[in-house]
């Protein structure tokens, strides 16, 4: 271990911008894993996989901007307030 002076890191973990989130997108049951939300997500933290039928958000970096909920063709995402509870 070395102690350095100034803003520096060798692992990208210092900036978990998910801490800024005041609302988070919550998925309903109509997702068909089309990936539109992932395309529009500004930080690129949504992964969808049609084959595996999976829709995953990296909560460490989702800022809760809500763009995914606006662009979802099936209107399947709802922005809900962060209540301090664990998210999946």
């Amino acid at each position: 271990m070395r102690r350095l002076l100034g803003p520096v890191a060798d692992v990208f973990e210092a900036t978990r911008t998910g801490a800024w989130r005041i609302e988070r997108p919550q998925a309903g049951s109509r997702c068909n894993w089309c990936g539109t939300c992932a395309v529009y997500c500004p930080p690129g933290v949504i992964r969808t996989d049609k084959k595996a039928r999976s829709f995953v958000i990296d909560w460490d970096y989702c800022k809760g901007c809500g763009i995914c909920a606006r662009v979802c063709p099936r209107n399947n995402l709802t922005m809900v307030p962060e209540g301090g509870a664990e998210v999946g």
């Binding site: 002076l5 100034g6 803003p7 210092a14 900036t15």
Partner: protein, 393 residues
Amino acid sequence: MLDGNEAVAFALRLARVRVIATYPITPQSPIAEKLADYVADGSLPARYIRVESEHSALAAAIGAQLTGVRAATATSSVGLALMHEVLGVASGCRIPLVMPVVNRSLVSPWSLWCDHQDAMSVRDAGWLQFYAGDNQEVLDWSLMAYRVAEDPRVWLPAMVCLDGFFLSHAGAVVLVPDPEEVDAFLPPYRSRNLRLDPADPMFVNDLTPPAEFTEMRYQQQLAMENAPAVLDEAAGEFARLFGRCCHAVEGYALEDAEAVVVTMGSMSGTARYVVDEMRAGGRRVGAVQVRVFRPFPGAALRRLLAGRPAVGVVDRSAGMGAEGGPLWTEVRCALAGVPDAPVPAGFVAGLGGRDIPPATLEKVFDRLLAGEPANNVWIDVGENPLGLREVTL
């Protein structure tokens, strides 16, 4: 004979800078040109990056220095203003760059000429600031700047300020040490803190949350607090190697002085001349030259100024809307609450290239000796400032 810009260029070559990124601006341009000449004639093995602005110049110098070499840039006036954002990157990332600043006024009115407003406007950017009084000091303090900035107890960037035209373009005798002597004073540079190395990757200048920001700023504050002792050590070593002194503040004819004037930059030699003249006429006056503005040498000034009947400070920049000029503000603060220390009088002079001739400083001494209080007195302002300008409509 060297002018101030040549003295700077000599110093940077003696420091063996390996990357140069400069953007020309009056009155700094000859520095950029001379460094280009040295690279072209092979006397300075370095890469010269032609950048499109001062913002890029400093950014390129920072990046270069992070790879483990001394990097150089130099600027002036609005060029320094354009660097403002990047100045904080250098100090916050603790990169010991040395940057000559050829002092020139800031807009508006447009002016090419000397005052200290450019450097004063960035006095809290976390850089060490040295102000040279003559061309020998330009060279000496450039070498001192590397030594102090690169000390692990400091690791802060440094500005070496020299008065535009009065120093930058005026020739004077300068003793230039041999490169081998300078090598003994400035060992080869290594990046011992943050660095850019593909074999040792780091994120540099990453986003820092409120939970750590104060502590990181405080690290810089501690470095500033360490700097005076490092400066003293470096000055001792400098004197041993080169036979010249580099004092952060220096008194002149202070014994029995009833009035003392505090100055920075090229007016300081004039102040000593005026002191000699006035003493020859039987008046007991003295002078103090401040060469280090950041960190401010408050303790040294208290030692020199406590007990003086009258002290005046001449600022070469206007503290617009403040109680006085920035040097006066610091001196006033340094002396506040010190038993038998005078309340310093504040004067502003020499803006936008206006000369500070002996007569201006005599006026300052006269007011001090007469015991007239003075607060933010523009001592060389013309008789009808509101008469400017008359236009034909």
